[in-house]
């Protein structure tokens, strides 16, 4: 998914403006000649300059290419769905790992991702359990990381 550089330039120009406005009024308690706003302002100035050049280059190429060039994968609903699975899996972990515990959340995530990749269910199920338990052992037993247990609290080891 490739945007025209004009679009990217505008986005970064906006970012530069945001950073500049947010840092303009930073307090300077020690009254130094250059306070905490100096460096962010220089950076936003440079970013604005680069973004403007990028945007102008993009505008010049405007008639030669489309505004948004879709790569092959972006036209395929299956690929898009598989791509969305990655953030979905992380968000699922964010929202449910405390309630469900690691040993339930992790195999669930793995089994969905395995099967989305075309692994047979007969292999995906045991594999996701095994991988989750192995990872749990590394981090919980090996490194002492407090992974959540959720409803499995009674069998905590």
């Amino acid at each position: 998914m490739k945007f025209n550089d004009l679009f990217a330039g505008l986005v970064f120009l906006g970012l530069a403006a945001l950073v500049a406005t947010a840092s303009w009024h930073l307090p300077n308690p020690s009254q130094q000649p250059l306070g905490p706003s100096a460096f962010p302002l220089i950076l936003s100035g440079l970013l604005a300059l680069c973004a403007a050049i990028l945007g102008l280059n993009g505008a010049r190429a405007f008639d030669r290419g489309p505004m948004l060039a879709l790569a092959d994968w972006a036209r395929s609903p299956v690929a898009l769905l598989k791509l969305t699975l990655v953030p979905a899996a992380v968000l699922f972990y964010l929202w449910f790992s405390e309630a469900l515990g690691f040993l339930i959340t992790a195999p669930l995530i793995l089994v969905v991702l395995f099967m989305a990749g075309g692994v047979r269910p007969g292999l995906a199920l045991p594999l996701s359990l095994l991988a989750a338990i192995a990872m749990h052992s590394i981090f919980y037993l090996g490194l002492g990381v407090q992974l959540p247990w959720g409803p499995l609290e009674p069998i905590r080891w």
Binding site: M1, K2, F3, A8, F12, L15, V19, A22, S23, L26, P27, N28, P29, S30, Q32, P33, L34, G35, P36, F39, P40, L43, L46, L47, C50, A51, I53, L54, N57, A71, W73, K82, L83, L85, V86, P87, A89, V90, Y93, L94, S97, E98, A106, I109, L110, L113, F114, G117, G118, V119, L127, A131, A132, M135, I138, F139, L143, G144, V145, L147
Partner: protein, 503 residues
């Protein structure tokens, strides 16, 4: 110095450290061998584990993994014509032709043997040069360090990238990310959005794991992910012809190692650029340039030695000035800072035994590469067939848990995802990701040196250039930037040269 080396040897020969080295070596070899998993990703995934280790094994794990992964990237390049890491891309045609000719053991033997020699050469230069440079740099003030950081960043953006403008934007994004938190000369909270988690700044580990592992998983999801087909059945003796080739091509070996080390030292250009340049140089000086690309050992020897020697070379500016030469050393610097071993000339005074231990790890890792590399070549055809549709979900889970493990914080997991998505979108649009990491790692230092220099000179910009060394560094930095701008204005239709995107 000898005392410090003896202490260092004791630290490295500790059974725990040796076990870490061996485990990371096997890990690096396997990951580097699997196409689509880069050396940078291998290193980034390891960082959460190093968080729980003492300094010496932590840094040993990083050094060993990256050294091994750069070599084993040659394996899929040779057997499948898919370079395992970008550093192997330069000579993939030659090595694949050898495989088609039925001599995969010759191509892989050259990759292994000359990687080891190149790596040892780079290590020797690093051991000899960095204490001396550090000694010289002890007299540097904030102005000199400001220009060294500028030179490092300028080199990364303007030399190490094929799209300087986009690399520059990527760098500025990284520098802006580094603004978050209270870690600035005035100690003011900036861009924290009133969140306590952001006061300490953006945590490096979730960010690196996100940018190099999570984004890789996303890219895998949109690829077809089919398993590669292997053409070879069995391997002959791997080291059979190596001594003969060493005697036949000594100059290629030395030239490759030397150029690789120099390219590595130059901030911003890593193993992949070293390999491309050495391959080109080998062809230029060869008596039989027409044989290049047809399965000729000469370029393979020179470039194979070059990419491994550059790895050690990159550590010289990293250790002496804290300037990473590529993303792997940027990750390593993050680990050193985490372990309260912030690199810089004083590290040679305060912690010499730790630095010497690092040198020794390089030597051990390169020597260990001979037996372990031999073993991985023997089982390579099986490792290559490990399906990525099984590996990638496990890598994603590892990235989640690894980010969580540092602070037991789900916030960091969200951060990991955000940076993974950012890296994915940036790369899809042709922005290199490595400058972002360089910016985040170097941002606080750059600001500190800049503000301190300006305070010393009462806010006058002349203060940045009125000391001789600072003036020279400034001239070189400005020269590099000006040269790139002039060159791009002169030849706007320059055909894309093969350049490292994943430095």
């Amino acid at each position: 110095m000898l005392d410090a080396y003896v202490t260092a040897l004791g630290m490295v020969l500790d059974p725990y450290v040796l076990a870490v080295i061996t485990a990371s070596a096997i890990y690096g070899l396997v990951v580097g061998c699997i196409p689509g998993l880069s050396a940078t990703m291998a290193t980034a995934l390891l960082v959460p584990l190093t968080f729980f280790m003492p300094p010496v094994p932590a840094i040993a794990a990083i050094v060993t993994t990256s050294t091994m992964a750069i070599f084993s990237g040659d394996i899929p390049g040779c057997l499948l014509r898919i370079p395992g890491t970008p550093a192997s891309a330069a000579y993939v045609d030659d090595s694949y032709q050898m495989t088609l000719r039925g001599e995969p053991e010759l191509a892989l033997g050259i990759g292994l043997w000359f990687s080891v020699l190149g790596g040892l050469f780079g290590t020797a230069v690093m051991m000899a040069a960095s204490p001396a440079i550090a000694d010289f740099a002890l007299g540097f003030g904030s102005v000199e360090f400001f220009w060294i950081v500028m030179l490092g960043l300028g080199g990364a953006v303007f030399i190490g990238s094929s799209t300087p403008l986009k690399a520059c934007i990527a760098l500025l994004i990284g520098l802006m990310i580094s603004l978050v938190g209270m870690n600035n000369p005035a100690g003011q909270p900036r861009f924290t959005f009133d969140s306590t988690e952001m006061l300490g700044g953006v945590s490096l580990i979730p960010m690196m794991v996100g940018m190099f592992a999570c984004s890789e998983v996303m890219r895998h999801m949109i690829s077809d992910g089919s398993a590669p087909q292997i053409v070879i059945k069995k391997m002959g003796p791997i080291f059979a012809n190596m001594w003969r080739l060493t005697k036949q091509y000594p100059w290629q070996l030395i030239r490759g190692s030397a150029l690789g080390t120099v390219v590595g030292i130059q901030p911003g250009s890593g193993a992949d650029m070293a390999a491309w340049m050495s391959y080109a140089m080998s062809k230029r000086f060869s008596k039989t340039p027409e044989k290049f690309g047809t399965g000729h050992p000469e370029g393979l020897i020179e470039a194979g030695a070059s990419n491994n020697s550059s790895l050690a070379g990159a550590w010289i500016p990293a250790l002496v000035f804290g300037i990473p030469g590529d993303s792997i050393t940027a990750i390593a610097i993050g680990v050193l800072m985490m372990k309260n071993m912030a690199p810089g000339p004083t590290i040679f005074v305060n912690n010499p035994e730790n630095v010497y231990a690092l040198f020794l790890v390089f030597v051990i890792a390169n020597l260990l590469m001979l037996p372990l590399g031999w073993a991985i070549i023997k089982v390579a055809s099986r490792v290559l067939q490990v399906p990525r549709r099984i590996l990638m979900p496990i890598i994603l889970l590892f990235a989640i848990v690894g980010s969580y493990a540092i602070n037991n914080s789900l916030f960091d997991v969200g951060l990991m995802l955000a940076f993974g998505a950012l890296a994915f979108v940036l790369e899809e649009n042709g922005f290199p990701v490595a400058p972002v990491i360089l910016g985040v790692v170097l941002g606080p230092l750059l600001e500190e040196y800049f503000i301190n220099s300006m305070i010393k000179s009462d806010g006058s910009l002349i203060g940045l250039v009125n000391r001789p060394i600072a003036a020279v560094l400034a001239a070189v930095t400005v020269g590099i930037i000006a040269w790139t701008i002039i060159a791009s204005l002169r030849a706007p239709k320059d055909p894309a040269r093969p350049m490292p995107q994943d430095l």
